[in-house]
Assembly symmetry: C3
Homo-oligomer: 675 residues x 3
């Protein structure tokens, strides 16, 4: 690809009237250059079993070609036709909630042989149908694939086989899972109980890991099929999505993104987020950083909202700000879901770029400004390269291990693993320090000067060892609550906590509790940024009663009984530094701690005072530094430009170091300069 | 009927001791003249399959006759005997939640052949048993019949046949329902999926319409049987109920009231409402107005609470106020559910007129004052005729279409269609302007000078055309949010909104959102009543971004981004006026808008300043105007009498225009005068 | 037993490493003298069907013996092995929620013949295995046995037989249950409907009573087996638990404690309660008092938390305070659940005395101080005898009868029977007046000078008669809301309320409602303690509109409509006094009313002013009075000592009447003196 892909999902199949030519004209006129088609339209492509009709697909590709629009073709397998469910009811997944019903997408058993048979056939037929078209630039495998909580008997039998291969003997499994508890000890592989009834978190975590593997296997299987048909210049991608908290929020529990990404030539994802007064750019940054790190390369935002939910109707300027925010994270493409608003079905009120009247509207006109800007300056924004020195380590193993029973074991808590991750990610974001998101699988941690490890609740000895060595070799390691608390089987480690790392952090703890009326106090000399921090509500949800051994105490608890314990500590370990926070802190404190850690890591945070203006940057193919100034606020913002002289690309003006950049509400400026 | 029916439901079957003669004496002594019996007592009437025992029924009728009490006999089919469920388990309905269990009432499949067989037999036997009695004045078909969410396979097969007859081809249905979305496109009538799993609102809305038809069919079937037995002087009625929000609230989603009313000779209903500090008269007015309009005639309140729920125990005077409130809406009868409080079962704490001790109590004594007043003046209150010039158009098609997925698509919203309807109905109520409630089926809208159309989300072209013509021909049309947004199949119309009406209203809109920190501002010259309205919290839940074309702007939004859009508009269209509100407003604004619309329609609202005193009126058979002054407050209220000289019926005093009427707390006065 | 049992539950089976000898050393070093083992470890003891392995059990007993530690052996039947569920799926109970799944404990059908067969065999094998050991001092039958909501067809058939035996004819049952309502009348024992669908509270209450009997039968059956093996010096106990409101709260609905206790030689229970700022001692007192009264003797606290939930991590001193609080209620033993914190399973965050690192920690060190104190002074605290003059009558029949439908029939109410019981129990607790908890079965009420009867919603004529006679013969009877409202079949009595007692209380009422904006006003002359009580929020949830006949009015309602009704009354009846409260009052009022009733009963409440210091006492075997001063607060408390001169046992100091006792935060002092 030699240009930014800007476009939208397009469904000729869903149109209430003949619109194709008109739509292609409008799309092109908006400066868009790509559409994504075909995913989820199986029933139109194969209206009856064995009867194929790709006319909607081919006529769309042809119309696109007439308007110089490229096409990404999605395999249609994530929603099945009624005839398939009627003919093979077993295709509908049995989940923890029982047998599903036909109707929704993503309700099939992706391991069911009938499903796989028909899925393979439709994929092959589709790929044959689109093979002739030069403007098909790539393929998307399925869509937002997950395991859909499949938990039927056949799948559980496969899971039992997986366990057998993993453990060899039931006794090894009994031991690893602590099955003696409540008489769950198993005497034979034939007596493994239905995992959906279990009270054993290890058993459940193993099932989650097994099910994530099903997703990887499925995508690899589709990739293999696609490879039989695609040209070398055609890419293969997938639309990964994220933990959903009403919007794209955090690490996906149901897919091993780094492993599943092996099925792709370029990573892709969808990112949906609040807008209006709640547009912060944090989801765009977190999810984008994670996706970029999957293949350590640029990526595609295959879906993001245009209008989205009624409560997300963007303010003037927000659509622009969002598009450039994606690009500033290293995206090479931004595509809306979807072109038009649906007239039927459960996403009628999840609106596209056009409203239901299919006419030009305010948002279309704003998109057109983006398209035109990209035609002009897009080349300079393409293939941006990031050089981040800070990283956050995330683990969906830790996430699901914390899931089944409340780690933060008290009634009413709604926070989870991702909230801890996001607390640190968002603190860096507000400090204007860009970060990578890395994984237990990531080969080399030493590329980073600062490694933040939030709530790594379940981890193997090897991974903990790697963290230890990272610090020993000179890295700044910042751990937050529960790191290493359980092993890879979610068995609590019966050693001093933080397990494997207590000497690295220079602390130990035996107790933890839920803070009530507990504040933090920091010694200004140790933790200078903490001056003036409000002590009220300074921690929440969880506190470990840290006993500082070797470590210095950066902050301690303020409480009649817990005042003798440390809350945040720092230790010199080998050539490096190991910082640990035993509690969840108010965001002001989290920010202060991150700033402190950055200083220890000698990472400059020049623009840490600019939020809600956010600065993100990357080096383009011409070796020039591209800096985005993004105003996530409804107010005009005037901020200093602190870098080498350059040029503002959108307004085509020169800018000098120490000039003031004036950003309109929800505005964006892009400066090209030397590095 | 030549008298107001005043009475109660009576269940000899439920009595813990022999009480019949004692009860009839007490009922008669309270001035009551009617009891309603037999509904829900099937198991007592047919204790074993084929063994009949109507002794409770006949002895009650005979005892009533001895005390000059009339009897309404209900068919007992809304609760089935245990032996029927044991013998034919298929009688219990399968619903969206699965197979029901025996125990509750209203859990049967009203289309099940076994149910219908036994139901017909018990109805016939009962009608034979009561045929000899002259004091049986009428029959009630079943009770609060609904479809009970029947969704079993047999019923779905009938639904599929219904669709086939409606659409002819699957392709027509695919198109109408937009089944292409998410691969739901159907290739054959045999592959229609279980409707309970669908994500397609059109499919679901069609199922709701189909199920409402089942109710109509069932009542017509019962009517036909009853007609074989009844005397010409015996009426046939039914106890319609309303959407339940903890009390009778709004339009019933599960029954087509206007169609089902064809099975009756006189409309009937139950109205339950909060009391104590929450007694407002609004439910009595709304539900009464709706019921009166079903056959455009007087109606019976077959059930209303005496004591009701524990939290509804009435204050002194409220029982009287309630009774006269019903009569003021055009009711020809008021009956309590029920005479005594139940000693067993799940309505033990839904108390009747007598408490569990079956002795005279405070409420009985208050009921006795009502009975005595009605004996004296009831003749003047009978068959009151209303001449309302304002009407509200309601549609349970629109109601259920908005149901399955949140129209007001955001988390936490609990408001629905009925809240929009009630906002306008209650505004008129507080302005002391009486209204009719009309339906899409209503033949002629032109009888009204003002027609309010709230949230008519799903409507056919014909209906929208009728509304357009109404305005064109000189009516004042007041539309509120979402009118015409989808067609009769709940497909969003792909034209300018408000669909079919945008030139009528002189506006269009392409976007909508959820208001946050958004106020309204009205120009005093255009919308004079809005002066001094508080701008805080002035809208909620929903706002359309109206672009006024021809229309005048009555109010616009106050918001940094949405300030350029209109909120309320008015347009001259043909000979009439079309007003549109694109948002849900605080009740003060809704009232101001209604007052403005009334002025446009030249409807006087003389007593718009009197609330919480409410004035309702009608012309009696003697051609005299009867005006009720109802004090819905705990304070003494002194209000001006603004009409021709007349006589206060309860106190037997003369009253002259401009006299002050003094109303005690929760008090009532009834003035007879010339028109 | 000739010593206080102090110890913990111990599971060699769950240990992640070889720890036995080390643990026994640590246990003994902490002054502990008992462990409780084997319950819930069936799958370890019988790893395959018919293959037995008691090595964990015997090696633990032997290790304990080496350290002079006694052992209580629990039968392992409350959690079944996977092979049993696999072989006999019918063992897993069908409940109101349907068929259970293998995984949790306590999910079996305790009446299932397969379960009973295998349970008997494992019990016998275990008892044989432990027979040789002298340090086994007693047995625990099963654990926290309940009926687990078993409601499958076989159990319902047994229930139907139970009904048939109880009523003889269906007509008698129809009458007793009021089955005529909603056509539920039954014509044959064969047509009794599935009780899980019923809307009849009488039918449901009968089922609850039947299911409670299953628990009694089960424990008696185990007792009989154990008796075949045990030595005369070995006791038999059971771990009763309580209604769970997130902690041990009130009367257990699912077990008839007094009846089930017949299977035991000594009563036992578990008591779990909040700590930190919420540690009040109220649960320890209520549950302890109840357990003590089961056999009218000392009892064992077989389980209580060490660390418990994360939010319960005790403050310094609380573990000590808790232990002595148990002993002060008459416990002869206190055992923690459990020794170590679990490394797997759903109670990983329900921590034991040791943390997961299995090392000495803060709590262990505090437990050691308790152990050492008990070694020194335990003999003086053993077999304390209580002489309480006040009692509270509780009934799980009343509790479950109020359950199925809201007695306090309004939306949003979450209070239940136990909240009424606890309101009075906690008032006495705060007044420093100890009380017994008695039952309908309790033979003689006349032992008490004050009998409090909260919400006795369902009661037989005989029980009400007994209460009447209690007052008539000179007792002070204090009734609170709903007493006698329904009979033993939960049929509301159709007589004047309070049924059978209205002349005893000198009042009657016909109406009740939910208070809103309703205060209380007391006449200082009648109810002197009420002076200065805040009238705001003084009642909640429920109010009966009392009409005082003979009775004096102690307090009346303050409300425009309800002001004419009495709220609290007092009547001279025979030689006694009958006080009645018709409403639920703010705790300040409840305390005032209790103090008034104590005065009437001539029960001194010398220390009614000391709370949060609580004084509890008993006479030890040497005939000496032992008084515990328990400081349930984080502040130092200085309180007067008002009793004969004595000796403080923990500090070994003399104390004289009127001396001041200084209690540290969460501190305890124990004074031995003459009576």
């Amino acid at each position: 690809m030699n240009r930014i892909l800007y476009g939208c999902a397009y469904y000729d199949e869903y149109m209430p009237e003949e619109r194709l030519e008109k739509d292609m004209e409008m799309i092109r006129a908006a400066g868009m250059n790509v559409i994504r088609i075909a995913e989820s339209t199986w029933a139109t492509e194969e209206p009856q079993e064995g009867v194929f009709d790709f006319s909607h697909v081919t006529r769309t590709i042809e119309a696109a070609a007439r308007h110089q629009i490229s096409v990404i073709v999605g395999t249609p397998t994530y929603a099945i036709p009624p005839w398939l469910a009627a003919r093979h009811p077993e295709v509908i997944a049995v989940t923890e909630q029982g047998k599903g019903k036909y109707g929704p997408r993503q309700n099939m058993d992706i391991t069911d042989p009938h499903y796989l048979f028909y899925a393979e056939r439709i994929i092959r037929k589709l790929l044959e149908a689109v093979r002739p078209y030069q403007n098909v630039i790539g393929f998307q495998l399925d869509n937002e694939t997950k395991h859909y909580h499949v938990a039927g008997e056949r799948v559980q039998q496969r899971f039992f086989t997986y366990l057998r291969e993993k453990f060899g003997t039931v006794e090894a499994m009994n031991q690893a899972f602590g099955f003696a508890y409540w008489s769950n000890r198993v005497d034979s592989w034939d007596h493994l109980p239905d995992v959906t009834g279990t009270i054993n978190g290890s058993y459940l975590a193993a099932f989650e890991a097994f099910r994530r593997q099903l997703v990887t296997d499925f995508l690899l299987w589709q990739r293999k099929i696609v490879d039989e048909y695609r040209r070398p210049d055609q890419f293969v991608t997938h639309n990964f999505d994220f933990a959903w908290h009403g919007f794209s929020y955090g690490v996906q529990p149901d897919v091993d993104h780094p492993r599943a990404a092996e099925a792709l030539t370029i990573a892709g994802c969808d990112i949906y987020h609040p807008t209006q007064d709640d547009l912060t750019g944090k989801e765009i940054a977190f999810c984008g950083n994670l996706t970029r790190c999957l293949k350590r390369d640029n990526y595609l935002v295959l879906e993001t909202e245009a209008q989205g939910f009624p409560e997300w109707t963007p303010y003037d300027g927000q659509l622009r700000l969002q598009a450039f925010s994606h690009l500033s994270s290293g995206a090479d493409g931004v595509m809306y879901w979807h072109w038009h608003s649906l007239h039927n079905g459960c996403e009628t009120y999840w609106k596209g770029l056009l409203s239901h009247d299919l006419k030009e509207n305010r948002l279309y006109r704003e998109a057109r400004t983006i398209g035109r800007d990209l035609e002009r300056i897009g080349e300079k924004l393409l293939h941006l390269h990031k050089r981040n020195r800070a990283a956050i380590l995330v683990s969906n193993q830790a996430l699901t291990a914390m899931g089944p029973w409340p780690l933060f074991g008290f009634p009413g808590n709604r926070r989870d693993y991702n909230d801890v991750v996001r607390a640190y990610a968002d603190a860096l974001f507000e400090l204007n320090v860009e970060y990578d998101v890395i994984f237990p699988e990531t080969a080399d941690f030493s590329a980073y000067d600062l490694l933040i490890v939030p709530a790594l609740y379940s981890a193997s000895d090897e991974l903990l060892q790697k963290l230890r060595q990272y610090a020993e070799n000179g890295g700044v390691l910042l751990g937050a609550v529960k790191c290493g608390f359980t092993d890879e089987h979610v068995k609590v480690r019966h050693v001093e906590q933080p397990a494997f790392l207590h000497d690295c952090f220079g602390i130990t703890y035996q107790e933890f509790t839920v803070p009530r009326k507990t504040a933090l106090h920091a010694d200004p000399d140790d933790f200078t940024e903490a001056k003036g921090l409000d002590e009220e509500n300074s921690i929440h949800t969880w506190m470990e009663l840290l006993q500082a051994g070797e470590a210095d105490v950066l902050a301690h608890y303020v409480h009649p009984s817990w005042g003798k314990y440390a809350a945040v500590t720092q230790n010199r370990f080998g050539k490096g530094t190991a910082i640990y926070s035993g509690c969840l802190m108010h965001e002001t404190w989290t920010k202060a701690l991150c700033l402190h850690a950055l200083k220890e890591a000698k990472i400059k945070a020049e623009d840490s005072d600019l939020y809600p203006v956010v600065v993100k940057c990357g080096v383009n193919q011409q070796g020039r530094m591209i800096r985005f100034y993004l105003n996530y606020s409804e107010k005009v913002q005037n901020v200093p430009y602190r870098y080498p002289d350059g040029e503002e690309l959108l307004t085509d003006k020169q800018i000098r170091r120490q000039d003031v950049i004036a950003l309109p509400p929800w505005g964006v400026r892009i400066i090209e300069a030397g590095q």
